[in-house]
Symmetry: C2
Subunit: 162 residues, 2 copies
């Protein structure tokens, strides 16, 4: 659930790499090699990240990208937002209640709370935190009780989900 696009993960990997080598400027080409992702995809992501203000670009020969700010100030939420757009778990919440269900949906207002909580969780993790191989708390691994998974049943036909 709550699937985040693969491109976003790539984006975070890229940002992490750039943060780890802040001194240099990085071209899409170099990054593609360094992180082993297809060049066109890397370009696309970098472009968006730049447009989002997280990276500063320099055009022309010898151009490339550098971090716009300090890794300690850039949050995962920011990166995700830049790549996937504003955080909105449901359709309804995004555009100020244009949902036709709205009238019958007592839940609506409460979603804001939830979005809020999720956003905070993601906003407190800074890029700098991602660099340290594994933070203090050594690998929490199972973040949901195994029973959840056991019971999980697919909505789709063929099924997958893991």
């Amino acid at each position: 659930m709550l699937r985040m696009g693969k491109l976003t993960d790539y984006g975070i990997v890229l940002m992490s790499y750039i943060a780890e080598h802040r001194s240099k400027q990085h071209s899409a080409h170099m990054l593609s090699d360094a992180v082993h992702m297809p060049l066109p995809t890397v370009r696309k992501i970098l472009k968006v990240l730049s447009a989002g203000g997280l990276l500063t670009s320099e055009r022309g020969a010898q151009g490339g990208y550098i971090l716009s700010g300090d890794p300690a100030d850039i949050s995962v939420a920011q990166i995700i937002t830049a790549i996937e757009g504003p955080i909105a778990l449901t359709e309804c919440v995004s555009s100020a209640s244009q949902c036709d269900q709205e009238t019958h949906c007592a839940v609506q207002t409460n979603w804001n709370q939830i979005n809020n909580a999720v956003f905070h969780a993601l906003d407190e993790v800074k890029l700098a935190d991602m660099l340290t191989p594994t933070l203090s708390a050594a690998r929490p691994v199972q973040f949901y009780p195994p029973s959840y998974r056991a019971k999980a049943v697919s909505l789709q036909d063929g099924d997958q989900h893991e």
Copy 2:
């Protein structure tokens, strides 16, 4: 970002409705009318919710669904998990590191932390909380600074995201 399927929202609405009328047993038909959703879709969701153990079903004429537990014990995270499968923001994290990037991806381990945080945020909101029209904190509305949205740029062509 972090789009959650529309069906999941429906699922939560359904659970909320059932929780609000715990006394009675509800058939898919009745619920479809009450919440104004297409009947087949309602059936599908209820089935999954039942398979997930959140609803208890009774077959045959006069059958229907009731809540399996107390609304105060059922979390939003449980509902989401039941409908969409285990919480895993990235592809990589889901199946214990089968990602080919993995070797180059220093970020990987830290994702668990993030997933953990998000899951907790969602697990602390119980179904009972969703029933109270608006909890104490009156509408937090803007859960991310407007600047985020202003800067947001799409990955896709036509663009939308809101």
